[in-house]
């Protein structure tokens, strides 16, 4: 029965998955096991996305199912859970750009993979990134930008992190509609990720996680 949930979720069978969750909670099962299955399902989803079997709508839908499961489980959690975190990642859309869908998907996938994500939102000046690095000690920074105006904003952000003496303390990845490896070089970032799972793969690589 335990495997049913993982398979159902990974196959995006929303109603069946939620039914199983309710049944298991009513049976008095440890809610942490359910959350663990949810995470395993998201791992499968992530892998299918990386293998080009699943696409962005599948990530969005699985994310919704995961959120619904978390909502069902939350009241049954005994205390604040100390979930093992693989590392800290700051995510933000750079100055002048208000787009966030891609960033939100990456943030979500990093979170379900086990990273501690600090999503500082849209249209963030370089100083906001610097402040968050200092505040959290995060080792990875993800810069999101959709428009061509983000090219210089990203370059300025990387430059500001350098001027603040923090450049060697963080790995910086960029992503978004107009970004590519040429822009990665232009901005001085460490890597460019073409999609959410590329971002997750980079974060895993930089934290030495398999």
């Amino acid at each position: 029965m335990a495997n049913d949930l993982i398979d159902l979720m990974a196959d995006l069978k929303e109603q069946e998955a939620l039914t199983i969750v309710r049944r298991r909670l009513d049976a008095g099962e440890d809610p942490l096991l359910i959350l663990d299955d949810s995470r395993k399902a998201m791992e499968i989803v992530g892998k299918r996305f990386a293998d080009s079997e699943y696409f962005i709508p599948d990530l969005v839908y699985s994310g919704e199912i995961a959120k619904e499961i978390a909502e069902l489980v939350k009241p049954k959690l005994a205390k604040a859970q100390d979930i093992k975190r693989l590392g800290k990642v700051i995510m933000g859309t750079v100055s002048g750009d208000i787009h966030d869908i891609g960033k939100n998907i990456v943030s979500f996938m990093l979170d379900v993979t086990g990273f501690e994500v600090y999503d500082i939102g849209i249209d963030q000046a370089p100083q906001s990134f610097i402040d968050k690095i200092k505040q959290t000690g995060a080792g990875i920074v993800g810069l999101s930008g959709f428009l061509t105006l983000a090219f210089d904003s990203m370059k300025e952000t990387v430059g500001a992190i350098k001027n603040a003496g923090l450049r060697d303390k963080v790995k910086i990845m960029i992503g978004g509609g107009q970004m590519n490896d040429d822009i990665r070089k232009y901005t001085g970032a460490d890597a460019y990720g073409a999609d959410a799972m590329a971002g997750v793969a980079l974060a895993k690589k930089w934290t030495g996680t398999k």
Binding site: I56, I101, T148
Partner: protein, 440 residues
């Protein structure tokens, strides 16, 4: 289906005929005829005298003329001057007018919610940007399908224009009908819901719009007189994008594909006549047969091939066929990457459409559908903004050699000329195409 009259050729010939234009000089007339013929030949997959260059610009003219985006959004005269400067300095095969820089005061008058723009949510020299939202909720398909016009007036407009919020308190327009009491009740509705202020805001907005419209109309006339044809005629959208951009939002419509596919398909069919009507009427108004169709949500990664075939392509395909039926030239702008769906979108009558590609492998596109459609694009924005003139020239050479083989290419940036493009790169692109793009 073969018809005895090639309506596309008819409409393009009319566009090339320059009837009704009083040219500023014999040179201007010659320029106009050469440029329009060059583009018309490219569309119909005949070999032109040289590869046309017909870029889209939005705020590049502002940057070029030393103005901010806010300047041109709030002052049509400034926008006019900037766009004219670009047209005269670069001498492309078409000119672009400033209708796409919109009117800041008009948007303000309506308290428009779906954009943030310079001076109103983004900095002065940034482009306007779309504000994602669920402007139609997941449980509102029935209301939309049952009476879309009522949904527009009393649910959608109040959500997207702050000043039109009182409309949600009005009774449906059908209230006007019964007896003579109906019209009295409607007037009571207008009086007591505060809808008068909504109508006043519309009056204010349209006054601002007229300033822009007159400016653009004058600009069009001047550009034509100076020898520049204009390519952006009508405009429309794939029904999936109308529903997904403006109504359900990106997240909403993605979930709808799983949770309510039947409703989604019905709504797409419902929106198709609107898409056709919009294209035809805007092409008619402009007297230019090319219909610009920016596409957003159908690329690789954004949906599977199965979802593309089921939800995205059918109504877009029907839209384009309906336009071609009337001799109009659909110009879908395939934003992002469609490389794995080229075989599907190839299904279109030959020589009747322009396919504009951004990130699609444009060289593969030429292989797959170069014998069907004229291809537009796709000098990368990253090169235009951060590269060198030499890199730009090198890319243009490959474009012309491969995609321009036997005609069928209109050169532009991958998303048009980006706002922040380096001027030297724009010059390099322009000069190179004019020199190297000649067919011998």
């Amino acid at each position: 289906m073969e018809t005895s009259v090639d309506k596309t050729k008819e409409k393009l010939d009319m566009w090339c005929s320059a009837s009704g234009i009083t040219f500023a000089s014999p040179q201007a007339e010659q320029d106009y005829r050469k440029r329009s013929r060059r583009i018309s030949d490219s569309i119909q997959l005949k070999v032109p005298d040289r590869v046309p260059i017909a870029p889209l610009v939005t705020f590049f003219p502002a940057h070029y003329a030393g103005m901010t985006a806010q300047d041109v959004m709030y002052d049509p005269d400034k926008a006019y001057a900037a766009f004219k400067k670009v047209a005269l300095d670069f001498q492309w095969d078409t000119a672009m007018n400033h209708i796409n820089t919109l009117s800041g005061p008009m948007l303000e008058a309506l308290d428009y919610k779906q954009l943030k723009w310079p001076g109103h949510g983004v900095a002065a020299n940034r482009t306007y940007q779309f504000v994602e939202g669920e402007y139609m909720k997941a449980n509102e398909y029935d209301a939309f399908l049952d009476d879309p016009s009522d949904f527009m007036v009393r649910t959608y407009l109040p959500r997207i224009c702050g000043t039109l919020a009182p409309f949600q308190l009005l009774p449906p327009l059908t209230m006007i009908v019964p007896y003579y009491i109906g019209i009295t009740m409607m007037m009571a509705g207008v009086a007591f819901t505060g809808a008068v202020s909504a109508f006043e805001s519309i009056i204010k907005a349209q006054a601002e719009f007229m300033k822009l419209a007159i400016s653009v109309g004058t600009f069009n006339a001047e550009m034509r007189a100076l020898g520049f044809p204009m390519l952006m005629g009508g405009v429309s959208q794939a029904p999936f994008d109308t529903l997904g951009d403006s109504l359900r939002g990106t997240q909403g419509i993605m979930l709808d594909m799983y949770r309510q596919p039947d409703n989604l398909l019905k709504a797409l069919d419902k929106l198709l006549p609107t898409a056709i009507r919009m294209a035809v009427s805007s092409a008619e108004t402009s007297q230019i047969p090319v219909v610009f169709i920016p596409l957003h949500k159908g690329p690789m990664g954004f949906m599977s091939l199965e979802q593309f075939k089921t939800f995205y392509w059918p109504t877009l395909h029907k839209l384009m066929l309906a336009l071609i039926e009337q001799g109009l030239v659909p110009m879908p702008f395939f934003e992002a990457d469609y490389t794995d769906r080229l075989d599907i979108i190839k299904d279109i009558p030959g020589g009747k459409a322009i396919y504009w590609f951004e990130r699609t492998d444009i060289f593969k596109a030429k292989e797959v559908l170069g014998d069907r459609v004229c291809i537009r694009g796709n000098v990368p924005s990253s090169l235009m903004c951060t590269g060198t003139p030499e890199q730009v020239r090198r890319y243009c050479k490959k474009l012309i050699d491969v995609v321009g083989k036997n005609g069928g290419l209109i050169v532009d940036g991958d998303v048009g000329i980006p706002d922040e493009a380096k001027v030297e790169n724009v010059r390099a692109m322009t000069d190179f195409v004019k020199e190297f793009g000649v067919y011998r």
